[in-house]
Amino acid sequence: MRVLYFAKVREIIGLSEENIDLPSNVQTVEDFLDHLILKDNKYDLALSNKETIHIACDENHVDKDFILNNTKEIAIFPPVTGG
């Protein structure tokens, strides 16, 4: 799965994108965030305050209980501030 990071999340993790194979125990967005948080301190720092983290799957906003099984691209970012 292609994983994209934006804004503050991108800066803390130090990557704008990477490819991650979904482990078998990961089903939802929430599971995936937990998987990343355990991966490394940088991910923990960027993502542990989950209320401030927004998610888009294949370019659509989704909730944390969204099931990832057919997702090709997931974007992880703070609340948007355009306009």
Partner: protein, 139 residues
């Protein structure tokens, strides 16, 4: 007609407005421009950096315009949004809505900019003399 543009380079609101005014189908045109403020809550900025998620931003803005066109029967809807590094005073976003009568254009214009502010994937970072700060969402 719906037109959505997301671009790095500066745009000229007067030129865009003039082009929109050429259309003779509508009796009302409402235009909104959002610009870079020199003084923010965090002080005087040197620059404003805008990051975006290109494909999703285009998709969301187009869909928002399409919803507004349908709901208020718009004749014309134009949205332009910039990304990259901007200076104080430069325009960030412009929304033009046109309809037969004014009420529809006003309502549609506000709907589009409000929806865009909470859904379109853009992130602003204020650059000051010695530091920089990501802008927090305010609704």
């Amino acid at each position: 007609m719906i037109k959505v543009q997301i671009q790095k380079r500066e745009f000229d609101p007067q030129k865009i407005l003039k082009n929109a005014e050429k259309d003779k189908r509508y009796g009302a045109l409402v235009s909104f421009i959002g610009s870079v403020r020199e003084e923010t809550n965090n002080g005087k900025i040197k620059k404003l950096f805008i990051e975006h998620y290109k494909n999703m931003a285009e998709k969301i803005i187009y869909k928002t315009a399409l919803n507004a066109k349908k709901k208020w029967n718009l004749d014309y809807c134009y949205i332009i949004h910039r990304y990259g590094t901007l200076k104080a005073g430069e325009s960030i976003v412009m929304v033009i809505t046109c309809s037969k009568h004014r009420k529809e254009s006003y309502a549609a214009n506000q709907y589009i900019i409000d929806w865009l502010k909470i859904n379109a994937p853009f992130w602003k970072k204020e650059i000051f003399k010695n530091e920089s700060k990501w802008v927090e969402q305010t609704l």
